[in-house]
């Protein structure tokens, strides 16, 4: 897994999380106007993260699909397998399986910690309502980071 792919994955996760935060804020506006005014509702939506997500994710997806097709991969593999999986031979399969193992172990450590972070939600939600979304998005970001660091350490 190259540093570029890792940064791309994390950037996409951040933009997706940002987009979800903006949607969450909009839904909160809809809910508040709905409860105060029964004639209708109004909301504003910051679509910048969604636009940035499409600008980055669509070319990345096209490039990834082309590269996978060059390696004679099937459509099922292209659609369902993560881009960072390299399993062309037994050594790469072993590296991937070890990185997945480390990622799984990290899940057992990170999950309770993030659950503890969620305990502070009642205090933080007054200042930042989308706090649970950020906590939720941290989970895949940490797993991708552990996967990347495991592969990098094995390749050194």
């Amino acid at each position: 897994m190259k540093l570029r792919n890792y940064l791309l994955n994390v950037t996409i996760l951040i933009l997706f999380g940002w987009g979800m935060v903006e949607f969450y804020n909009s839904i909160m506006e809809v809910q508040s106007t709905n409860s105060t005014n029964s004639d209708g509702f109004a909301f504003s939506l910051n679509i910048l993260p969604i636009i940035l997500l499409f600008i980055i994710a669509i070319p990345a997806a096209i490039q990834f699909t082309r590269q996978q097709r060059r390696d004679n991969k099937g459509w099922k593999e292209i659609i369902f397998f993560p881009a960072e999986f390299r399993e062309r031979d037994e050594r790469e399969k072993e590296l991937t399986s070890k990185a997945c193992r480390n990622s799984y172990i990290s899940m057992m450590i990170v999950f309770p910690l993030l659950a503890i972070c969620m305990l502070f939600q009642p205090f933080i939600s007054n200042y930042f309502a989308a706090y649970p979304i950020v906590i939720l998005m941290l989970f895949p970001a940490i797993q991708v980071t552990v996967y990347y660091l495991s592969i990098k350490r094995k390749l050194q």
């Binding site: 062309r88 031979d89 037994e90 050594r91 790469e92």
Partner: protein, 74 residues
């Protein structure tokens, strides 16, 4: 469980030079990536029995001629 401290060394680099094959040549013959051959030559990776036998087949040699066991009592 008793841990057995043995390592496998190989003569892949030497044999490849004798046959005048590049890493890519050998990789194509045994169906792996060039990086795997490089890792084998550096001793960073221990091949599966299938890959080891395929490499021996490519060199037309026995397993003992290509791979050696090093460690306790060897």
């Amino acid at each position: 469980m008793k841990e057995i401290n043995v390592q496998i060394s190989n003569r892949i680099r030497e044999l490849r030079a004798r046959f005048q094959w590049t890493q890519q040549d050998l990789a194509s013959k045994v169906g792996v990536t060039r990086q795997t051959i490089a890792a084998l030559e550096k001793g960073d990776y221990v091949p599966s029995l299938l890959l080891a036998m395929n490499i021996c087949l490519a060199f037309q040699m026995t397993v003992e001629e290509v791979f050696q066991l090093k460690g306790e009592g060897q």
